[in-house]
Amino acid sequence: MQQITLTINGKSVTAEVDERTLLLEFIRDVAGYTGTHNGCMEARCGCCAVEVDGEIVKSCNVLALQVAGRSVTTVEGLSPQRLRPLEHITTQSLAGVYKPLDALGADAKDLHPLQSAFHRKHALQCGFCTPGMLMVLKDYLEDNPEPTREDVRRAISGNLCRCTGYQHIVDAAMDAAQQMRVAAAGADSTADAADA
């Protein structure tokens, strides 16, 4: 056993863990952020993707000890709003008026541009792959603000989705890229104004 500290979504988490603990297990079982999914445990599906100091990794293929002391962002860190616990989602209510954002007490404007684009463009069905898709695309779009559809497909080549057929995910990524460019331009002009 070895004691380690990681910062997860800005919060410092210290625990004594078995050396074999994967970063994925630390995030889910020790820190309690279950948004990061375990889909394969062999670096194939991408459901477990998180950022470590701003760089994307598959957390099922990294030991927690390899990233001791570093700062991790999970899907919960994308829009740090407090979501209401889910109470009344049943198959019945799903079939009727399913308003996922309402159910969570969330506001669309507080979502990360990728999250709101996924919502608008129907980029998820079961949602199992979504946390990984969001994290990989966030990392990718921040470095590549003007991708082609082909670029986006390559960026998510390590992420499997068994539901959507990927089309809507690519649509959402293109849409989010546009929103992120607008936001970045806005931030630049605000900075310029402040400089002047």
């Binding site: 070895q2 050396e19 760089e55 293929n61 990294v62 000890l65 390899q66």
Partner: protein
């Protein structure tokens, strides 16, 4: 996974001493992208892991005074991509950018890929194809090994237990006028079914002064197609010549008599196609 102790030395000599002390039970871990998969399946069961991530000497790259490109063994693919090397060294960045996937490239290292020595991986074929060599350190001392001799014909590397690969050296920009790495894989993030590397130098009359052709994934270690390489020298290559060279490489590397299964026959066809593509692209680069 079997239980292990995790050690994180901060200097190379410390890492060498730790590996020496723990002998065959110890294994270096760089990015862990191959090793952790093997440990989860209990194919690898080290009882001590010595992390190379904290060794500053093993990260980054520099040009030696003679112009060789020296890349630290624990340099990640992501770092190789952002390095954007000049001249033909740029092919190293391009290859790093087109393998595995974005998250794996954050962790995976060039030295890890060479030491894992999976014949379908790109870096082994690239290193042999471009005439690289590697420096190693161990309790027994340091040595330099040409990449062509690093890989054992029966698979794996010739490194001893506890021997750390420290640097991968690529020759000077003058060594080649054009290089190209080509591969074929079923899906973007699969390992190569076949890969081919061509490195060539042209003389003042645009004739091939010397050339190397290397194939990956067709045997347990990268294969140098020596005969095909020799056939190229002294000639001004036309499209027709390149087609013949592709066919020659097929005969040399996977002759019909050895291509018994349908998979090997498929690989044989790919050798022809990829060698043609690699020569064409290397020539284009050399002539431009």
């Amino acid at each position: 996974m079997k239980a292990f102790t995790f050690l994180a030395p901060e200097a190379l000599d410390e890492a060498v001493a730790l590996l020496d002390r723990h002998g065959r039970d110890a294994r270096p871990i760089a990015g862990g992208q191959s090793l952790l998969l093997a440990m989860k399946d209990r194919i690898a069961r080290p009882s001590v892991l010595v992390s190379l991530a904290g060794l500053a000497d093993l990260r980054g790259w520099r040009y030696s005074p003679s112009g060789e490109l020296e890349i630290g063994a624990a340099t990640t693919y992501a770092a190789l991509i952002s390095a954007q090397f000049g001249g033909w060294h740029g092919e190293i960045s391009a290859v790093a950018a087109d393998l595995a996937d974005r998250p794996v490239r954050t962790m995976g290292t060039i030295g890890g890929a060479l030491c894992q020595a999976d014949p379908r991986f790109d870096m082994p074929a690239l290193a042999v194809g471009l005439g690289a060599s590697v420096d190693t350190a161990s309790a027994g001392g340091a040595r330099t090994i040409p990449a062509a001799e690093l890989f054992a014909a029966s698979g794996g590397t010739v490194l001893g237990p506890g021997e750390i690969l420290t640097t991968v050296r690529f020759p000077t920009l003058g060594a080649f006028s054009g290089v190209a790495f080509e591969k074929f894989r079923q899906r973007v993030f699969d390992a190569a079914v076949v890969s081919a590397v061509c490195g060539l130098r042209l003389d003042a009359d645009a004739r091939v002064a010397d050339a190397r052709i290397v194939l990956g994934a067709v045997a347990q270690a990268p294969v140098i197609a020596q005969r095909t390489g020799r056939q190229m020298t002294g000639r001004t290559l036309t499209e027709h010549d390149i087609a013949e060279l592709g066919a020659a490489a097929m005969e040399e590397v996977l002759p019909v008599s050895q291509a018994m299964s349908s998979f090997h026959r498929y690989q044989r066809e790919l050798v022809g196609v990829l060698v043609r593509r690699a020569i064409t692209r290397a020539l284009d680069q050399a002539r431009s």
